[in-house]
Symmetry: C2
Subunit: 245 residues, 2 copies
């Protein structure tokens, strides 16, 4: 059974939006922080991984949201490296209440990238062993994300504070770019229940991206998203929404 | 002697910029959070203040920065309501290391605003008494901020995630708008040592602001900043910089 790591997190007002619930961007940043804490505890922190000329990237997230954490609430963030194959590591996160109720489950696909070549690397046993996750041969894929067909878009310039210590645009920033375009009325009348997001290419400081979106009334209310520079897609997502109660 | 309140804060990677030190915006958000915690502890939280039809605003900040908190470091954030007069409350914050070394001192001027009329209100004794700060008659002013004379600017659209639970653009966002325009090279080669910022008017969701700035090589390296919409100034600041070691 793979090692689990749990840490409490007090949700502050500044981590929340006008609805008083946690910004998805912050939730993702906190989750990644917790996985870094686990890695440090297992002596597999960024420095260790860097000895191999590698760095972790996250290529996909699926979020299953029962309820978003609220300002003032203390939640527990648990992470576990579930399985891995030659190139991909499958890690889960759970955000739960003090009473153990699951609020959000986040499934992620991590990969290792060569810092110099920016190419994916196979996963060295020395890096992965301490997590005690199961080795599998299967490649797991999340559901395919449909393209934005009749979308509109808004431009976003990559800002200095969007880039993190690794000189990359932090993953969490893409969540803000995608959701902001939906506007105040939409974002105060709906809550996200499911999100599937896939990172294809790295956006860099100095880029200006277009955040394309399309609202689809299917069985559920859905929004489809693409972060593009010109015709090139850098990141794509599907979000399923519920009416806010 | 006015009541002091201290809380530890673990500086996470996502609170830091590419330099590995805490974003000023986050430092301000954390400070405000700590003052809210003190208010809650004294039963003078937002709900209590709202009974008077009022809400707190911060009109001025002065930051004295010896060294910015680093990712992974645990710092202590202390706050104390120092003095107040009819309209203004003077509150200090100190960010210190575990060993008690002062990293940052933040001086602030708070005022109470009527939620309906958006006008300033005098400070009711019922609200201020528990902080045990000293009543003074003098109005304290921070140094005058010189205008931007030969500046350049970049536009910023107010985004959904820039507004907080009070429907305002969070104060911390202005810090990002002001500093982002200085660019990667400047912001990775210099560290702020002093900042004096004054909030004149509220920017609202849907606005597009221009972040004007000018670099002045005086006795110290200074940058002057103005957030404007058209000819109207909403916020102004002076920052003094040192070469990054």
């Amino acid at each position: 059974m793979a090692t689990k790591y749990t840490t409490p997190h007090e949700v502050t007002a500044y981590e929340c939006d006008v609805n008083g619930t946690m910004k998805l961007a912050t939730m993702i940043a906190v989750a990644i922080q917790v996985s870094e804490e686990q890695s440090n505890q297992l002596n597999r922190g960024a420095d260790f991984v860097q000895q191999f000329g590698l760095t972790w990237i996250v290529t996909n997230y699926q979020l299953f949201m029962q309820r978003l954490p609220k300002a003032g609430e203390t939640v527990y963030v648990t992470t576990q490296a579930q399985e891995y194959n030659k190139y991909f590591c499958y890690r889960h996160f759970w955000i739960t209440t003090q009473a153990g109720e699951e609020l959000v489950r986040i499934e992620t696909i991590f990969a290792l990238m060569n810092v110099e070549t920016r190419k994916m690397s196979s996963v060295p046993n020395e890096i992965i062993a301490p997590y005690e996750s199961e080795k599998i041969t299967k490649i797991k894929r999340y559901p395919k994300i449909e393209k934005v067909k009749n979308g509109t878009s808004l431009p976003f310039r990559v800002r200095f504070y969007d880039i993190d210590g690794n000189q990359h645009v932090n993953n969490s920033i893409y969540f803000n770019w995608m959701m902001d375009v939906l506007g105040y009325d939409f974002l105060t009348k709906h809550v996200p229940a499911y999100m599937n997001i896939r990172f294809d290419k790295e956006v860099e400081y100095g880029n200006e991206i277009d955040s394309h979106y399309e609202i689809i009334q299917a069985e559920t209310l859905q929004t489809r998203h693409e972060i593009r520079i010109g015709e090139q897609t850098y990141c794509e997502a599907l979000i399923e929404w519920q009416e806010k109660k």
